[in-house]
Symmetry: C2
Subunit: 118 residues, 2 copies
DNA sequence: TAAGGAGTGCAATGCCATTGCAAAGTTTAG
DNA sequence: CTAAACTTTGCAATGGCATTGCACTCCTTA
């Protein structure tokens, strides 16, 4: 299962939800896929993305990803095709925070229309 | 109920979850407060914030808020006190998107330590 | 070949958001 | 003042998603 999921994630250039994988691998149980993704997270193979869709999305990490503020990039949710993309070349600009606020992590999501739906 | 919730929201300078309000107004039903907030949203009194905590947070809009890309600001979740703040003076910088991507809305959340928890 | 460990399926649990329906409360026209 | 019409509320149920205990199956290794 891990090999199958990993391969599929590598073939996609976008972030997938547990449910999408569940549908794809219909012979495998939800919990198995869930644990697969959990294992991947624990080993920094994937990062989880909260795109506000209600379901968490998972996407492959880059080789140097450690999933902290450093390597964070913007994510994009297309409101037409409902697909979520990692904009790996669009780093998150960290703004100046009010006095006394310290940032540890950032989640920057943009909603709009993706290039294939334009 | 609307008056009570509105007043409480005005007194706070932060975003609150349905559950927090439920606990506060223990004599009112969850669904009543839910509908109250829904009414507020429909009339642009509050905006909803997805801070990744699992529960949606609600905060008062500014007078000129129309809850689109224009008036959007960054939100901050303190991982210590679990409170979410609107950083109304910290607008979201919109980055250059890849070719063909068009932005309609943005959600920029920063996690860290707030000024009172420092 | 059998014991120990790893992976899997099933079913249950626990949030949280949302809604149908009926009861209670309020407004308004007669 | 009274009843119809409309609004607000409470209760209970539903649905989606994440997560987990437990038992069973499968694989590795001594
Ligand atoms: Mn990503
Ligand atoms: Mn806000
Ligand atoms: Zn699209
Ligand atoms: Zn704090």
């Amino acid at each position: 299962m891990r090999l199958l999921v990993l391969q599929y994630l590598m073939e996609q250039n976008r972030a997938l939800s547990l449910n999408e994988l569940e549908v794809l691998f219909e012979n495998a149980d939800k919990s198995t896929i869930f644990r697969t993704l959990k294992t991947f997270q624990e080993n920094y193979l994937v990062h989880r993305i909260n795109d506000g869709s209600g379901a968490i999305k998972y996407a492959l990490c880059d080789d140097d990803c450690i999933c902290s503020l450093e390597d964070n990039h913007i994510h994009f949710l297309c409101t037409k095709c409902e697909k979520t993309y990692c904009l790996k070349d669009t780093p998150i600009a960290t703004p100046n925070l009010p006095n006394g606020f310290r940032a540890n992590f950032a989640n920057y999501l943009i909603e709009g229309i993706c290039s294939t739906c334009t």
